[in-house]
């Protein structure tokens, strides 16, 4: 007989829209969802690109000001046009080589498992994002709604 445990909850804030941070976010989210936890993500500022239909397929990562980027050139060369594309291509290739899903695939998995996607209403207004730009199922919310959700979470992370 399995003891019925109280459902745990994790509340995440996604503030960055780079490819690497999207992976960090969605790996945590999909894993928690796979464990039967309730998961809610509040997308704010640049993190918003992850729930923007027009942008989620082409998130990027820059080598500039990112000394850990695995590029065999001095970091200052990151200012050269095209370097962001090179770094992005490299990270995508590394992920593919490890058979990792893409960001849209991970996001679909999260949605299938009921992860709640909260879109920061201030960011929507500030960046003139329309409702139709949002990934399906995204709920428009403010900080108060998210805080109330997060107050019942055992785990909260800002990514």
């Amino acid at each position: 007989m399995v003891e019925k445990k109280e459902t745990k909850r994790v509340a995440l804030v996604a503030s960055k829209g780079t490819l690497d941070m999207a992976y960090a976010l969605l790996i945590i989210a999909s894993t928690a969802a796979s464990m039967g936890w309730e998961v809610g993500i509040f997308f704010t500022f640049y993190g918003f690109d992850i729930v923007n239909k027009r942008k989620v397929h082409r998130l990027k990562v820059a080598s500039l000001a990112n000394p850990a980027a695995p590029l065999p050139v001095p970091n200052i060369l990151g200012v050269i046009p095209g370097m962001t594309a090179v770094a992005t291509w490299m990270l995508r290739r590394m992920m593919k080589k490890q058979n990792m899903p893409t960001i849209p695939e991970l996001l679909d998995l999260c949605r299938k498992w009921g992860v709640r996607l909260f879109a920061c209403s201030t960011t929507m207004g500030m960046m003139s994002i329309k409702d139709e730009d949002l990934v399906e199922g995204t709920e428009c919310a403010g900080a108060a709604a998210f805080l109330e959700y997060a107050s019942k979470a055992q785990v909260t992370l800002f990514i």
Binding site: V2, K4, S34, N99, L109
Partner: protein, 83 residues
Amino acid sequence: MKETIKADRVVDTRGLLCPMPVVKAKLALEEMKPGQVAKVLATDPGSRMDFPAWCNETGNKLLRAEEEGKGLYTFFIQKAREV
């Protein structure tokens, strides 16, 4: 002498990294009946700690965890009676 565990389904996650071993296990268990056993093969070294934790959280039962040389891990997971 170890008792043989009969698996109803094999979930091959060899070559995959976190979070895919637990994701694949979850997707397989979703299609299985309570009480059935999945045999999960993994090469991700993180899976050694992940599956006991994942089973603890989901209520599915980790019947056995084995490590065969060369970094191959095998987990026998029984789907919970109620999830």
